[in-house]
Amino acid sequence: MNDAGPLLEVEGVSVRFGALMALHQVSLRIERGEILAIIGPNGAGKTTLLNVISGFYHPWEGRIRFAGRDRTRLKPPDVAELGIARTFQNVALFKGMSVLDNIMTGRLLKMRGNVVLDALWWGPAQRQELAHRAAVERIIDFLEIQAIRKTPAGKLPYGLQKRVELARALAAEPQLLLLDEPMAGMNVEEKEDMCRFILDVNGELGTTIALIEHDMGVVMDISDRVVVLDYGRKIADGTPDQVRKDQAVLDAYLGVAHD
């Protein structure tokens, strides 16, 4: 793997659904170790962009490179294997499983195995299981969700579900973490916690983060760089300060009343 250069490059990517052009020749780079915020009005194509990056949609044109290697056409599991994890706009936890199992699922990629050994719960299978449990417990500790470890994920309040989802993504020890509105629907206190966690993940684990967020205060506070999308096109890319002063952004986005 190439250690120099940006972690992820999106080059001239377009996505269309029938006649609708959801993304139009969008190019952007995610540098190693940064926190990149992707902002834009509703329907600007932010989530579509994340979906393309995580391999859920494939671009109609353009290319995506991860750590210098082309991966435009990879499927979601292959993308995950490269070291990209994400959370979802509408929490996508596995509701029938406990919080612990949900987070353990995040480590499936790191688990190797043999069904026969799994079936016997013996030797390497058991050792692997316990080792991953230990790793997951460190994440639980990191995100301070010890008290809900054995609660079914579906029974948690929304704010905690978002945190568990972050935990599940972190369990994969990704190089690149994509967060789709990690703070949507949270109260001020929960938002503060989440900001702290995002900064800690970035600072202590060194994970590169790209996030979509509506709360401009949060975006300006925690991101190193901001990319602005509008109607599927990129209209600005720069530091929070630059973007804040950008006329195109002001016209397209900040001027518009927004939730």
């Binding site: 612990l100 449990r133 230990a134 417990e137 460190r138 639980i140 500790d141 990191f142 010890q146 008290a147 470890r149 702290r196 800690d200 600072g203 202590e204």
Partner: protein, 651 residues
């Protein structure tokens, strides 16, 4: 009285002895990363040694003080032992202290070092560093969030231990030599007590104090090396130091540190301690918790539970009063044991308890009876920081409702002419740190003034009436013991705190704090909507509820010839919760009577006036330190008025 063997005269030496005699016995556990991580005595000693060497590498000298701040964590207990091993003195502080309190104690104790749990404590210390010029190094255990800190005074525990390892390579005999230099009469710990008045005082206790006193209590109570203890009370409290450190080191029993403050109840159930201690506050909370949860049960189950609880309490009362309980109740008891007491005990995590204490303050008799009736051997313990926490304990099989038991071996008690309890024991402290004035006031020829009024009854049990200075008389001369009334009120799950007034007044009044959880739950079940604590507290329905509780207390006073003249005539419900941040109660939740009398003077005057409501404005301090003003219209309820109307005996 026990004597101290040579070579086992300080706690670190005792730890070493444990590491040699029972190297694989579990010394301490901590719920961390989802399971109970266990450490043996050998590991306990090894870690204490490494931390000590690390501190030495930082320049820790004999007699230096180290502030210890954080939740109960094995690392902090090791730091206590490490400090003592170097001939230094650990000074544990309350982890929730605000910066002002912290600054006073760190500065007063002349702490050069601080060993703290995490970023939260580091932040506080960094803020107050200007006020504590002697503070040189801050050691933190949890490095979470610490990456951005570059202050040279900071060092992580892991790094400290590495430095210790390096030092050990250079000076292999250093630790053993330092350990050997310690003696029984070295100061082992300085416990700061906030007290209800004045600045905190640093009580100095020696190794001898705690080894002898701790051992006396161990023998009296029959404690063994296989006890399990939950260390959940602040390390700064002398009780935790005795039970979770001193006695553990002395017997070798296991101390368990909960995962977090939020999970204490759950962890209590998991561990199921055999030896347990809690101030009345916690027992009250547990009882309230039980009652709220039982109220949510279906009607038949609720009736069943209440019925059997009634049976058990009647039995226990009879037993405590030395009467023979009725036969049918005795017959029902085994059934209750299977259906209610056993499961309840298990759910509370108290199934395995052999000895439990309530200490620190008088406990409401109803609360006490409740837990004893479940079959939990909870006993009253009398003591204070100045006596190494131990003076008197109710003996097994001889527990009475109204006494705090008989003096422990080695303890002498006498009553002064003013009725104040004085005691002398091997556990008596050597003095307050840098406060000879206070020492002189409290300690005289080895006798300590307890500040409590009390007497020794015919059976040799010590009976405490109240704080010596709080027992007073009404204007008419009737004896009035406010705390006694308050405890009775607080037995109600709906009453969180109560302050009774009456000294030199014509009658008794009460300021009541409702329990938001219990009353909120009660209101919800009745469909009473409310917007805030203040709103809820002033609802007429809530006043009716509390009036019912007041009446219950008044009725119970009728039995007591001395105190029946001091029944509560008027009360009001406070519009806000009493809060340590507002200095209305101490961190250990003792009511600051004087402060309250001053702060709520307007309310109190109204209670003794004719009106039925009063306007208040109050300063409150929010969690982030900002202050604001709360305005409210507080109602006053005259119990006597209604009682007359209801045809009851008037006051």
């Amino acid at each position: 009285m026990t004597t101290i063997e040579a070579g086992l005269d300080t706690f670190p030496k005792l730890v070493r002895s444990n590491a040699e005699r029972r190297p694989h016995k579990i010394a301490i556990r901590e719920k961390d990363l989802g399971i109970w991580q266990a450490y043996t005595w050998r590991q306990y000693f090894e870690r204490a040694r490494r931390i000590a060497l690390g501190l030495a590498a930082l320049g820790f000298a004999r007699g230096d003080k180290a502030a210890i701040i954080g939740d109960n964590r094995p690392e902090l207990y090791w730091a206590v032992a490490a400090t003592q091993a170097l001939g230094g003195v650990p000074v544990p502080l309350y982890q929730d202290s605000i910066e002002k309190e912290l600054a006073y104690i760190v500065d007063h104790a002349e702490a050069r070092f601080a060993v703290v749990e995490d970023q939260e404590q580091v932040d506080k210390l960094l803020h107050i560093r200007a006020q504590c010029p002697r503070l040189e190094s801050i050691v933190y255990d949890d490095s979470r969030g610490m990456r951005a800190y570059s202050d040279p005074c900071l060092i992580s525990l892991a790094e400290l231990e590495e430095r210790g390892d390096k030092l050990a390579v250079g000076q292999p005999g250093y630790f053993d030599a330092e350990l050997a230099r310690g003696s029984a009469d070295d100061v082992a710990i300085i416990c700061y007590t906030s007290g209800t008045t004045g600045s905190p005082k640093g009580t100095m206790l020696t190794h001898r104090n705690m080894i002898v006193m701790g051992r006396n209590a161990i023998e009296r109570e029959g404690l063994r090396h296989d006890e399990e203890v939950l260390a959940y009370l602040p390390m700064a409290w002398v009780g935790d130091h005795i039970f979770s450190y001193a006695q553990s080191v002395l017997t070798g029993f296991t101390v368990n540190c909960p995962e977090s403050a939020a999970t204490v109840l759950h962890d209590l159930k998991e561990i199921g301690p055999t030896y347990f201690f809690a101030p009345p506050r916690i027992w009250e909370n547990l009882l309230t918790n039980v009652m709220i949860r039982v109220e949510d049960a279906a009607r038949p189950k609720r009736a069943l539970v209440h019925f059997f609880l009634g049976v058990a309490q009647a039995l226990e009362r009879a037993r405590l009063h030395g009467r023979t309980p009725s036969a049918w109740r005795r017959l029902l008891h085994p059934l209750g044991q299977a259906l209610v007491y056993g499961p309840l005990r298990d759910n509370l995590g108290m199934r395995r308890i052999r000895v439990a204490y309530t200490a620190g303050e008088a406990i409401g008799p109803e609360i006490f009876v409740f837990f004893r009736s479940l079959g939990i051997n909870v006993k009253q313990l009398y003591g204070m920081t100045e006596s190494s926490a131990l003076v008197a304990i109710q003996p097994n099989g001889d527990v009475r409702l109204d006494t705090v038991g008989t003096p422990l071996p080695g303890v002498e008690i006498r009553i002064s002419e003013q009725g104040e309890v004085l005691y002398r024991s091997p556990g008596v402290f050597v003095g307050y740190f840098k406060n000879t004035e206070a020492t002189r006031q409290t300690l005289e020829d080895g006798w300590v003034r307890s500040g409590d009024a009390g007497f020794i009854d015919a059976a040799g049990h010590l009976k405490i009436i109240d704080r010596a200075r709080d027992v007073s008389r009404l204007a008419g001369g009737t004896i009035f013991a406010p705390k006694y009334l308050e405890n009775k009120l607080k037995f109600s799950p709906y009453v969180k705190e109560a302050v009774c007034l009456g000294q030199d007044r014509p009658f008794v009044t009460a300021l009541v704090n409702i329990d938001l959880a219990a009353v909120g739950n009660w209101a919800e079940r009745r469909g009473i909507a409310y917007t805030s604590y203040t709103d809820l507290s002033q609802r007429a329905e809530v006043y009716d509820l509390i009036e019912h509780e007041v009446r219950r207390v008044n009725a119970s006073l009728l039995d007591d010839d001395v105190l029946k003249g001091a029944r509560i005539r008027k009360f009001l419900i406070l519009h806000k919760e009493l809060d340590p941040d507002d200095e209305e109660i101490t961190r250990t939740r003792k009511v600051r009577r004087g402060f309250i009398a001053q702060k709520y003077a307007a309310l109190i005057e109204a209670l003794y006036g004719d009106g039925d409501r009063v306007q208040v404005q109050a300063q409150v301090t929010y969690e982030d330190g900002r202050t604001g003003t709360v305005r409210a219209d507080v109602k006053i309820r005259d119990v006597a008025l209604r009682a007359t109307a209801a045809g009851e005996a008037s006051l």
